[in-house]
Amino acid sequence: MKDKSLIKRFGAYGYVVPAMLVFAVFLFYPFFKTIYLSMYKTNKMGEAKLFVGLGNYIDLLTSKSFYNSIAVTVIFVLIVVTGSMLLGLIAAVLCNKTFPGIRFFSTAYALPMAIASSSAAMIFKIMLHPSIGIVNKLLHLDINWINDPKYALVCVAVLTAWLNSGINFLYFSAGLSNIDESIYERASVDGANEVQKFFQLTLPGLSPIMFYTLVVNIIQAFQSFGQVKVLTQGGPGESTNLIVYSIYRDAFFNFRFGSAAAQSVILFALIMCLTLVMFKVEKKGVQY
C-alpha cells in the first residue's frame, strides 16, 4: 500500500529523467559553465585564468562596439521577422486554393527550409558581386551591395528572411487548413468580400499559429550566423556585426571566452525578456 503511493507520487519523475539527462548534458551544464566563464578572463587555451567578477560585463556595457552589435541585431531581427512572416503568409494564402501545378509551387515556397544558410550565402555572394554578379547586370546598377555599409545589413537580412520563409510557409499552410471552410461560406452569404474575409476570418483564425511562428522567428533571427560569416564577416566596418557573430569572433577567433560568455548571457537575458513580454501580449491579440 505504502509502495504504491510512493510510485504514484514519484513515478512521474522517473519518466522525466531521460529527457532531463539529455537537457542536463547539452543545455544546463553548458549554460552554467557559460555563466561561470563570463566572470573570468581566459588564457589562450580557453581556461578560466583570472577572476574579474562583473568585469567582462562592465567592459561590454561601456564599449561602443557592443551597443553597435545590439543595434545592428535589433534592426536585423525586425527586417528578418517582418520579411519572412510576410513572405510565408502570402505564399501560404496563395497556395491555399487548389489549381494545376500547386505541388510545384508549394515545394518551391517551402524549399528555402532545406537550404543551408552558408551555401545560400555563397550563392548570394556571387549574385551580389558588383562587377560579375547577376543582380547588378539585370538591374543595370553599379552598387557594391556587400561592401557598402548602407546595403550590407539589408542584403544579409533579406537573404535570411527568404531562408526562414520556408518553414513559415509550412506553418501558415497548416494553420490555414485548420480554419473551418463553413465560416467562409457563411460570410459569403452575408455579403463579405475577399478582403473582409481575409482580415476578419483568415487572420484571426491564424493568430495562434502566427503567435508561435513569431516567437520562433524572433529567436531564430537572433541566432543567425552562417550568412554573416560567409557574406560579410561582420563588415564593412562593423555594420553587420550581429551579436552571435561577435560572440563567435571573441570565442573562437580571439580565444577570449570570458567576453564571449558575457555576451551570450546578455543575449540570453534579452531573448528571455522578449519572450516573456510576448507571452504577456499574447493574451490580448490571440484568439483561440
Partner: protein, 463 residues
C-alpha cells in the same frame, strides 16, 4: 495557465540553446580531435600487426583543400610507398588555417593531436610560446642537415633567436598583377612601382586604357603588413616581436601605418581603388573579368588568375608596390610552415623528420611549386626539370622569385601572438576609414589602441 507556463519554459529552453552553443563548441572540437587520434592509434596498431620491422605511423594535419590538397595527398602517398623505414603518414585535412590552429588548441588540452602540423605564418609566435613543439632546428642539427638549402629569406621568417622553429613548406609573397593590354592601350611603358606611381597613371588607364577601375585593392591585413615592410619599418615593438615578445604595435609610433593609409585613402578618394571587399582574393574577380587594370594578390593566386583570364588579355606581374617612391624595403613571406609537436616519442619524432625532409626535397618542392604556385622553399628545386618547365609555361612566376631574392632577411615581418585578431582589426578600421572619410592618422591610432589592448590582455593572461 499551466499550459502557458510550460510553453514559456520550453521557449526559455530554446533561448538557452543560444548560450549552450557557445561553450558547447569547444568541447565538440575536442571530441573530434579525440576521435581523430583514436582513429590514428587504431590504424597504428593495425599496421604493427602486419609489418614486423618497427613501423611508425605519424599524423600530419594540414589545411590545403582543393588542388593543393590533391598535391599534398600525392606527396604523402609517394612518401608512404617509397620510404624504406616503414613509416606511414596519415594526412588529415583540418579545414582552414584558422580551423586547424583552433582544433590544435582544443586537442592539446587533452594532450593528443598530431605529430606534424601545418600552421599559417601568423600563428608562429603563438606556436613558439605554446611549448608544444620541438624546434625544427633540433631535428635539423641531430641529422646534420644543411639548412643553407632553404631560401634564406624564407627561413628568416621562421627563425627566432637563431633557431629555426618550423620548416617552411608553402610560402608565398604578394605580387602586383596588371593588365598588359590596358597599359599598352594607354601608352604606359613604365610599370609603376609605388602607390603614388599608380595614382599618377590612373587617369590614363581609365581614359585611354579603358579600365573600369584602376586598381582592385582588397582590404586585407596582410597587404597592410607588407606595406609596412616595404617602408622598412616595424609593425610591432621589440624588434617586430622577434627579440622579445611584442608588448605593443609600432606602426602608429613610427608613422608607417598612417603613411600607408594616406596613400590608400588617396587612391580611394580619387575613385581609383574602390572598396572591393575584404580578404586576400576579394580583388581578383574584378581583375580577371577585365574591369580593373591592377590588382594585388598572392603569388599562389597566379595560376587561378591565368585560368580565369583564359587569354582574354595578357597578364603582367611586377613587384608589390612601395608606399612612397623612395622606400627601400622588401616583402615578407606568407603561407604556412610545418611544426613538429613534442609527443615524447623519439621514433615518431625521427619519422616526422624523415617526412619533413622528403617534403622539402628539391624534387617534392618542384612538384609542389608546379601544382600550386607556392615557392619552392629549397633553392635546389630550381634545377629540377619540373620547375624549369613550369617557369617556361608561366614566365610571370619569375617576378616572384626575383622579388624574394631582392628582399632581405631584415624584411622578415612581425611576429605577434594575437596576429589573427590584429589583422581583423586592421581590416575593420580600413573599412571604417574609407566609408566614413576619417583621417588616416586617426585610423592608425584606432588600430593601435585595439591591438595594444588585446596584446596587453594576452600577455597578462599567458605569462
Amino acid at each position: 495557465m499551466n499550459k502557458r507556463i510550460t510553453a514559456v519554459m520550453l521557449t526559455a529552453a530554446m533561448a538557452a540553446g543560444s548560450l549552450a552553443g557557445c561553450s558547447g563548441g569547444s568541447s565538440a572540437a575536442g571530441t573530434t580531435a579525440a576521435q581523430n587520434t583514436a582513429g590514428t592509434t587504431a590504424a597504428g596498431s593495425a599496421e604493427a600487426g602486419t609489418t614486423a620491422a618497427g613501423p611508425t605511423t605519424i599524423t600530419f594535419w594540414h589545411s590545403m583543400g582543393g588542388v593543393n590538397g590533391e598535391a599534398i595527398d600525392y606527396l604523402v602517398n609517394k612518401f608512404n610507398t617509397e620510404n624504406t623505414q616503414g613509416i606511414t603518414v596519415e594526412a588529415q585535412y583540418q579545414g582552414s588555417y584558422d580551423d586547424a590552429i583552433n582544433k590544435l588548441k582544443s586537442a592539446q588540452i587533452g594532450n593528443m593531436g598530431a605529430d606534424l602540423v601545418q600552421i599559417y605564418d601568423i600563428g608562429t609566435r603563438f606556436m613558439i610560446d605554446s611549448g608544444w613543439v620541438v624546434p625544427m632546428q633540433e631535428l635539423v642539427d641531430a641529422d646534420g642537415w644543411d639548412l643553407k638549402q632553404v631560401e634564406p629569406n624564407i627561413a628568416a621568417y621562421y627563425t627566432v633567436d637563431n633557431t629555426l622553429y618550423s620548416m617552411p613548406f608553402n610560402s608565398s609573397t604578394p605580387l602586383m598583377y596588371y593588365n598588359k593590354d590596358m597599359f599598352d592601350k594607354a601608352g604606359i611603358t613604365e610599370i609603376p612601382d609605388s602607390l603614388p606611381g599608380i595614382e599618377a597613371i590612373g587617369e590614363d588607364l581609365i581614359n585611354k586604357g579603358g579600365a573600369g577601375e584602376v586598381m582592385s585593392l582588397a582590404i586585407y591585413g596582410w597587404f597592410f603588413e607588407q606595406f609596412t615592410c616595404k617602408q622598412q619599418q616595424a609593425y610591432a615593438n621589440n624588434g617586430n616581436g622577434r627579440t622579445d615578445v611584442a608588448t605593443a604595435v609600432d606602426f602608429d609610433q613610427n608613422g608607417a601605418g598612417a603613411k600607408t593609409l594616406t596613400a590608400w585613402k588617396s587612391l580611394y578618394d580619387k575613385g581609383f581603388a574602390p572598396n572591393v571587399g575584404r580578404g586576400g582574393d576579394a580583388g581578383l574577380a574584378d581583375f580577371s573579368s577585365g574591369k580593373s587594370a591592377i590588382t594585388l594578390g598572392s603569388t599562389a593566386s597566379l595560376k587561378q588568375i591565368l585560368n580565369d583570364v583564359n587569354g582574354k588579355f595578357e597578364v603582367g606581374t611586377a613587384y608589390f608596390p612601395k608606399v612612397s617612391a623612395d622606400d627601400k624595403g622588401g616583402v615578407s613571406i606568407g603561407g604556412g610552415s610545418l611544426w613538429a609537436l613534442n609527443n615524447e616519442d623519439t621514433a615518431k619524432q625521427k619519422a616526422t623528420w624523415e617526412f619533413v625532409k622528403f617534403l622539402v626535397s628539391a624534387e617534392s618542392q618542384a612538384y609542389w611549386n608546379a601544382q600550386t604556385g607556392y615557392f619552392p622553399v629549397t633553392t635546389a628545386a630550381h634545377d629540377e626539370p619540373v620547375f624549369k618547365e613550369n617557369i617556361a609555361k608561366y614566365p610571370q612566376f619569375m617576378t616572384a622569385i626575383e622579388q624574394l631574392h631582392d628582399s632581405t632577411p631584415e624584411s622578415a615581418g612581425a611576429l605577434l601572438s594575437i596576429f589573427p585578431e590584429a589583422r581583423k582589426v586592421v581590416e575593420t578600421e580600413i573599412e571604417n576609414m574609407l566609408n566614413s572619410g576619417s583621417q588616416p592618422e586617426a585610423a592608425a591610432d584606432a588600430m593601435a589602441k585595439q591591438i595594444n589592448k588585446a596584446i596587453e590582455e594576452y600577455n597578462l593572461l599567458n605569462e
